[in-house]
C-alpha cells in the first residue's frame, strides 16, 4: 500500500499537497491540467523531489535514495543509456554492474523476448525505433519487478496505435508482476482503458483516487474545465 501522509511539495511559488492512499495492485491514472504538478507528484514518490510530510510503502517510510525505493519510474525521455546495447540497458535492471551469471543472462533474453525484441539485443538505442526503445525500457521494468511502477508519459512521442500497444503491454506486465501502477495521462481514453482509478491533480491538490468511470462521467468543475 502506497500512502502519502500530509505531503506538501514546494518549488518556489508552486505548491502541491497530497493526502491519499493507493491500494496494492491498483492501476491509477494521474490526470489534470498542464503545469498542475502531475510529473512533480510522480517525481516525489520516486524520490527526486523533496517533500514535507511522509511517503510510506507497506507502512515503512521510503528510503531517501531513489534507487533504494520499491519503485521503477519511466521518464518522458532518456530512459535508455545511448552507449549501451538493448541487452545491457535491460540488464541494468538486474545488476547495474552488468556482471551477470548465465541464469541472469537468460532472464534478460527472456524479458527481451517477452516484449517482442528477439534478436535485437545487440543494438544500441540509436539503432532502434521509438517503439522499440520503449519496449527496451519496459523489458527492464519487467525484470526489475519493483512493486510500484510510475509512468511519466514515456510514450508521449509515439503515434496513437503504438501508444495503445505499449499501454497494453504495460497492463500485461503489471498484471504479471502484481505491481501497483501510477501513470500520468493526457488522454482520458487511456485512463478508461487501463486504469480502474484516477487521481486528479488540480489547483494545488492531488486528490484521493476515485473510480475512473465515475470521475469522468461526472467531472467536478476543475476537471470539467480541463476536459473542455
Amino acid at each position: 500500500m502506497l500512502r502519502l501522509e500530509n505531503v506538501t511539495i514546494t518549488q518556489g511559488k508552486f505548491r502541491l499537497s497530497a493526502d491519499l492512499t493507493v491500494a496494492d495492485g491498483a492501476r491509477i491514472a494521474v490526470i489534470g491540467p498542464s503545469g498542475a504538478g502531475k510529473s512533480t507528484l510522480l517525481g516525489a514518490i520516486a524520490g527526486f523531489v523533496p517533500v514535507t510530510g511522509q511517503i510510506t510503502w507497506s507502512g515503512q517510510a521510503m528510503a531517501q535514495d531513489p534507487g533504494a525505493r520499491p519503485v521503477t519510474i519511466l521518464f518522458q525521455d532518456n530512459n535508455l543509456f545511448p552507449h549501451l546495447t538493448a541487452f545491457d540497458n535491460v540488464a541494468l535492471g538486474l545488476k547495474p554492474s552488468l556482471r551477470l551469471r548465465s541464469a541472469e543472462r537468460k532472464a534478460v533474453q527472456d524479458a527481451l523476448t517477452r516484449v517482442g525484441l528477439t534478436g535485437l539485443d545487440a543494438r544500441r538505442p540509436a539503432e532502434l525505433s521509438g517503439g522499440q526503445q520503449s519496449r527496451v525500457a519496459l523489458a527492464r521494468t519487467l525484470i526489475r519487478a519493483r512493486p510500484l511502477v510510475l509512468l511519466d508519459e514515456p510514450f508521449a512521442a509515439l503515434g496513437p496505435a503504438l501508444k495503445a500497444e505499449m499501454l497494453a503491454l504495460v497492463a500485461e506486465i503489471v498484471a504479471e508482476t502484481g505491481a501497483t501502477l501510477l501513470m500520468v495521462s493526457h488522454d482520458v481514453a487511456d485512463a478508461r482503458a487501463i486504469c480502474d482509478e484516477t487521481v486528479l491533480v488540480a489547483d494545488g491538490v492531488a486528490h484521493a483516487p476515485r473510480p475512473t468511470a465515475q470521475l469522468l462521467d461526472n467531472p467536478p468543475p476543475e476537471l470539467r474545465a480541463y476536459l473542455g
Partner: protein, 519 residues
C-alpha cells in the same frame, strides 16, 4: 564580394602575417643564429629532461587531484559553492611571481609549514628544486584542471544521472557507466593543456628552480642570453624549446583542448550521493583544495598590506608602465581576435581552419623563443632596450590571442547562426552590422577576453627580462628585482599591488562585458 568582406579579409591578412612573423620569423632569426645544436652543453640537455619531467609530473598531479575535487564539487551543494568555483578561475590571471611569493609564505624557509614543523621538532622542508616547481605548477593548474573536469561532469546529461539514480547505481556502477566515459574524453585534454602550460614555464623556474638540477629550457635560454652573453647557445636552446612545443602542440591537435574558461558551472547536478561517509569525504576534499588555494593568497594580502602605502616611487612608475603595456596588449588582442574570427567565418573551410590554427598556435609558443628572435632581429636596427615595452606588449598580445579567439569565435558563430539571416534580410552590412548586431552579442566574451588579456599582460614576467634595464622595468620585473635584493617588505607590498592591479583590470573589463544584460 562585398566591401565589408574584402576589408575583413585584408585586415585578417595583416594579422595573419604578423602572427606568422611573430611565431616563425622570430624562429627563423633564431635558427640563423643558432649554428646548429653543437653549442649545447650537458647542462642544457639536463634542462630539456627537467622541462619534460616537471611538466609531466605537474600535469599528472594536477589532473589526478582535480578529478576527486571536481567530483566533490559536482555532487555537493553548499553556500559559497559558486564563489569557490569562480575563485578557482583566479589563479589563471594570478601573476606568477605573486603566486610564488604566496607559496613561499606557506612552504618557504620561514613559512607556515616550516614553523609548524619546527614546533614539533622536525627539520625544515625545502621548497626549491623539482618539488617546488611542481608544487607551484599544481597550485596554478589544479584549479584550471578542476574547472575543466567539473565542466565534464556538467556535460553528463541530468536525465542520465536521474536514470542512474532511479536504477540504484552504486558508486562503481556510476563510475563505469557515467563518469569513466566522461573522464576518458575530458582528462587527456586537461592533461595536455597543463603539460603545454608547464612546458613553457619561465617565472616559476626562475624563482623556485635554477641550478644544474632544476632549470627549464626557458630559464636556460634566459641565462645563456643574459649571463653568458652566448647568443648562439641561446638560439640553439630556443630551437630545442620550439621542437618541444611543436611536439606537444601536434599531440594536442589530436585531442581537443578544453579551455576551462567557460561559464555554466553553477548548475547543480541531481543529487547523486546519499552515503554520509562519502559526503563528509567530499566536504573534507573541498576544504583542503580551498585552503591550498586561498591561504597563499590570504598571506600575500596580509603581508603586503602594511607596505602598500610606503612603496618607493620606482614601484609605482613600474606599475604605470605595466598598465600601459597591459592596455595596449588588450586593445591589440581584442582587435586581432575580432578580425580573425570574422575572417574565419567568411572564408571557405580550409582557409578558415588554417587561420584558426594560426591564431591558436601561440598556445604552444614559447615567449622566450619569440623574445630571443625579436632581439636578434631588432639589434642590428635599433637599441632593443628602447623597444622593451613595445616588444613586451606585442608578445603579450600574441600569447593571449588563443584564449581571446577561443572565447570570441564560438560567440560569433552563434550570433551568425541565430541572427545572421535576419540581419542580412534587413540589409545590415559592414560597420552598422558590427555595431548594431554583432558587438552587442559579443559583449560578454569580449569583456571576459579583454579582462584575461589585461590581467595576463599585467602579470607577465618573461620577454621583458631579455630586453629591459632597470629604468624600463615593468611591475613584475621590479618585483623580481626586489625579491633578488632580499627587500622582502617592499616585495610583499609590490606583490600585493601587482595582485590588486591584475584583478582590478580583469574585473573592470569583465564587468563592462556583463553590464548589458539584455544582450
Amino acid at each position: 564580394m562585398t566591401r565589408a568582406r574584402a576589408l575583413t579579409l585584408a585586415l585578417a591578412g595583416v594579422v595573419a602575417l604578423w602572427l606568422l612573423a611573430l611565431n616563425f620569423g622570430a624562429l627563423g632569426a633564431v635558427a640563423l643564429r643558432a649554428e646548429g645544436l653543437t653549442g649545447l652543453r650537458a647542462a642544457d640537455w639536463a634542462a630539456v629532461r627537467f622541462t619534460v619531467l616537471q611538466a609531466f609530473l605537474s600535469a599528472l598531479l594536477s589532473v589526478a587531484l582535480a578529478i576527486p575535487v571536481a567530483r566533490a564539487l559536482a555532487r555537493r551543494q553548499f553556500a559559497g559553492r559558486g564563489l569557490l568555483i569562480t575563485l578557482m578561475g583566479a589563479p589563471f590571471i594570478l601573476p606568477t611571481l605573486v603566486a610564488v611569493l604566496g607559496l613561499l609564505a606557506v612552504f618557504g624557509r620561514s613559512g607556515l609549514v616550516n614553523e609548524a614543523l619546527a614546533l614539533v621538532g622536525l627539520g625544515p622542508v625545502n621548497i626549491y628544486g623539482l618539488h617546488g616547481v611542481v608544487l607551484a605548477h599544481v597550485f596554478y593548474n589544479l584549479p584550471l584542471a578542476t574547472r575543466i573536469i567539473l565542466q565534464g561532469w556538467a556535460t553528463i546529461p541530468a536525465e542520465r544521472v536521474r536514470l542512474a539514480v532511479s536504477l540504484g547505481f552504486t558508486p562503481s556502477d556510476r563510475l563505469r557507466h557515467l563518469e569513466a566515459p566522461m573522464l576518458r574524453e575530458v582528462a587527456p585534454g586537461a592533461f595536455l593543456l597543463v603539460f603545454l602550460i608547464c612546458l613553457t614555464s619561465f617565472a616559476v623556474a626562475l624563482a623556485l628552480g635554477g641550478g644544474p638540477r632544476a632549470t627549464t629550457v626557458e630559464l636556460a635560454i634566459y641565462q645563456a642570453f643574459r649571463f653568458d652573453y652566448d647568443m648562439g647557445r641561446a638560439a640553439a636552446l630556443a630551437l630545442v624549446q620550439f621542437a618541444l612545443c611543436l611536439g606537444a602542440g601536434l599531440l594536442a591537435l589530436r585531442v581537443a583542448l578544453p579551455s576551462g574558461l567557460g561559464g555554466g558551472l553553477d548548475r547543480p547536478l541531481p543529487r547523486l550521493e546519499y552515503r554520509r561517509g562519502a559526503l563528509w569525504g567530499d566536504s573534507a576534499l573541498i576544504a583542503c583544495a580551498a585552503l591550498f588555494l586561498l591561504v597563499p593568497l590570504a598571506l600575500i594580502v596580509a603581508r603586503g598590506a602594511p607596505y602598500l602605502a610606503s612603496l618607493p616611487a620606482s614601484v609605482w612608475q613600474a606599475a604605470l608602465r605595466s598598465l600601459w603595456v597591459a592596455l595596449g596588449a588588450t586593445a591589440l588582442t581584442t582587435a586581432f581576435a575580432l578580425v580573425l574570427a570574422h575572417a574565419i567565418l567568411a572564408l571557405p573551410r580550409a582557409g578558415a581552419l588554417g587561420l584558426e590554427w594560426l591564431g591558436l598556435a601561440a598556445l604552444a609558443a614559447s615567449p622566450l623563443v619569440i623574445g630571443t628572435g625579436l632581439f636578434l632581429i631588432i639589434r642590428p636596427i635599433a637599441d632593443p632596450r628602447d623597444l622593451a615595452l613595445a616588444v613586451t606588449m606585442l608578445v603579450n598580445a600574441g600569447l593571449a590571442l588563443p584564449f581571446a579567439l577561443r572565447l570570441i569565435l564560438p560567440a560569433l558563430r552563434d550570433a551568425a547562426a541565430t541572427q545572421g539571416r535576419l540581419a542580412t534580410s534587413l540589409g545590415l552590412h559592414g560597420f552598422a552590422r558590427l555595431r548594431l548586431v554583432t558587438l552587442p552579442r559579443l559583449r560578454r566574451p569580449l569583456g571576459f577576453a579583454a579582462g584575461l588579456t589585461a590581467a595576463l599582460s599585467m602579470g607577465d614576467l618573461g620577454v621583458i627580462l631579455l630586453f629591459a634595464e632597470a629604468d624600463r622595468a615593468t611591475l613584475p620585473m621590479q618585483l623580481y628585482r626586489l625579491m633578488q635584493a632580499y627587500r622582502q617588505d617592499e616585495a610583499a607590498g609590490a606583490a600585493l599591488l601587482l595582485l590588486l592591479s591584475s584583478l582590478a583590470l580583469f574585473w573592470a573589463f569583465d564587468r563592462w562585458g556583463r553590464a548589458d544584460a539584455a544582450a
